[in-house]
């Protein structure tokens, strides 16, 4: 892996060749956001003026002759297409899935705004590739590499020896390759198990990562229902609410397993709302933060009839106050 560090590759000009743009395909492991808006316009402008200065890093696509997968340079390829270029400079490397996913991650490291979710995806794709590769132990890699990527596994394939077993867990290897701690890698990987709606809400409301990790253990449908509760019913999530939802989902999963039903611990929308309303805060935090927020009054839940929906409570209170005014002593005089 050390040989494909961006600097050393780019410094070796003899490796750079021109490749037709239409032979370059997007990598399915790339979860990094593209450049957008005015930055994109400026980016395309610079390509029109100077061309693609830094070469892209690509690898041969398996099972498709003459096609290449982009490992680094998705924006440059798209920019070149928009600028009307037919070819772009590329460096072809012989990277397996593990090295490819790590390359995709480390070449985005210098970007200014990489979200936790993007890093999570980078770690997860690398981890999954590593696990896949461990399952396919002993498979010889076909093709002569142009640039050799060093790794314990590649070395073992070349020397026809059994894979090196260092006792290191896959997650530790991924964390080491990316230069982060195992806990950081694990936490960010958990974020990739969130549905987009819930992740975006978490970002918007600046929910703590610990809470988001609890949510990530919920099944997808339950996560969608939770996002509904936050948006539509204006619930402010709490750590206790997250823990309660997770334990309820686990209970549901256990009971479904006992009943031999193919359920995945999904909670019904009504159950999610019940837990959210009991353990969450009904928009209190959001309102407190507004300087012009109206005064809020705490009214015990049991004063309202059970069947009365929350959004009809105001009318109910007005009715009650009217009734009291009409029936107070001396009102009819």
């Amino acid at each position: 892996m050390s040989d494909v560090r961006k600097g050393s590759l780019y410094q070796n000009q003899s490796l750079v060749r021109e490749y037709a743009i239409d032979t370059l395909e997007e990598s399915r492991d790339n979860h990094f956001r593209r450049i957008e808006g005015e930055h994109w316009t400026a980016f395309v402008g610079s390509i029109k003026e100077y061309g693609v200065v830094s070469p892209l890093i690509i690898r041969k696509k398996e099972g498709a002759s003459g096609q290449y997968e982009i490992l680094a340079g998705h924006n440059r390829r798209d920019g070149a297409v928009e600028a009307g270029l037919k070819t772009v400079p590329c460096i072809e490397v012989a990277a397996d899935d593990v090295d490819a996913s790590i390359l995709i991650g480390i070449t985005n490291r210098q970007r200014e705004e990489v979200s936790d979710l993007e890093w999570g995806w980078a770690y997860r794709t690398a981890l999954e590739a590593l696990k896949r590769s461990a399952a396919e132990d002993g498979d010889a890699k076909a093709g002569q590499p142009i640039v050799r990527i060093e790794s314990a596994r590649a070395e073992s394939a070349r020397t026809d020896k059994a894979p090196v077993r260092t006792g290191e867990r896959s997650i530790d290897i991924v964390a080491r390759k990316f230069g982060v701690s195992r806990r950081t890698a694990q936490r960010k990987i958990r974020l990739t198990y969130l549905v987009p709606q819930l992740y975006e809400l978490g970002e918007k409301l600046k929910l703590p990562q610990k809470m988001m990790i609890e949510f990530s253990y919920l099944p997808a449908v339950t996560q969608i229902n939770l996002a509904q509760a936050i948006v539509i019913e204006r619930i402010t999530p709490t750590q206790e609410m997250a823990a309660q939802l997770r334990s309820a989902a686990e209970r549901e999963l256990r009971s479904a397993t006992a009943r031999e039903e193919p359920a995945a611990g999904e909670l019904s929308i009504d159950e999610v709302l019940r837990i959210c309303m009991r353990y969450g805060e009904a928009g209190a935090e959001a309102d407190k933060s507004r300087p012009d927020a109206a005064a809020r009054y705490e009214i015990p839940e049991d004063l309202f009839p059970e069947e009365l929906p929350k959004d009809k409570r105001q009318g109910y209170i007005i009715m009650a106050l009217n009734y009291m005014r009409e029936h107070r002593p001396g009102a009819g005089k």
């Binding site: 979860h31 549905v195 987009p196 099944p219 996560q223 969608i224 229902n225 509904q228 539509i232 009504d270």
Partner: protein
Amino acid sequence: MKSYYQQKKGGWTLEPVIYAKTVKQIRCYRFFRRILDEGGETGGTEAGLEVARKADGAPAQGSSSQPDLATARRYVEAVDLGLKRYVPEVYRKAVFAHMVDGVEYTDLEETSFASASTLKRYAQVFVWGVAEELGEIFPKNTDIGTGS
């Protein structure tokens, strides 16, 4: 804003084409349900379907646009599941009445004890849910939910 427009906020916005298609499929719920019921009564044979098609003035057999029993079942199940999974019980009747029978929110407000804005939001999630059940949404990260 027209009641059949999409809610732009909340994360359940669909591609306009997918949204329009899903809303129309939901609107056809009763048609599909009748095909299913009458097909079921006759043991799921084509004879039952023909009865339903004639009753609805649907295209004659042989036309490429005629729904078969499996298609009808798929749509009916998607609507039922979308309603059950994504809409709280208290709002289900109202959301269903609006989406399937076209009852206006203003009329539903009085009978369902829910505000139009709440119903609109749940209706949007319902449409999103049906599209999801029908496989119309293709998320990049397909492996969401309980991971190890």
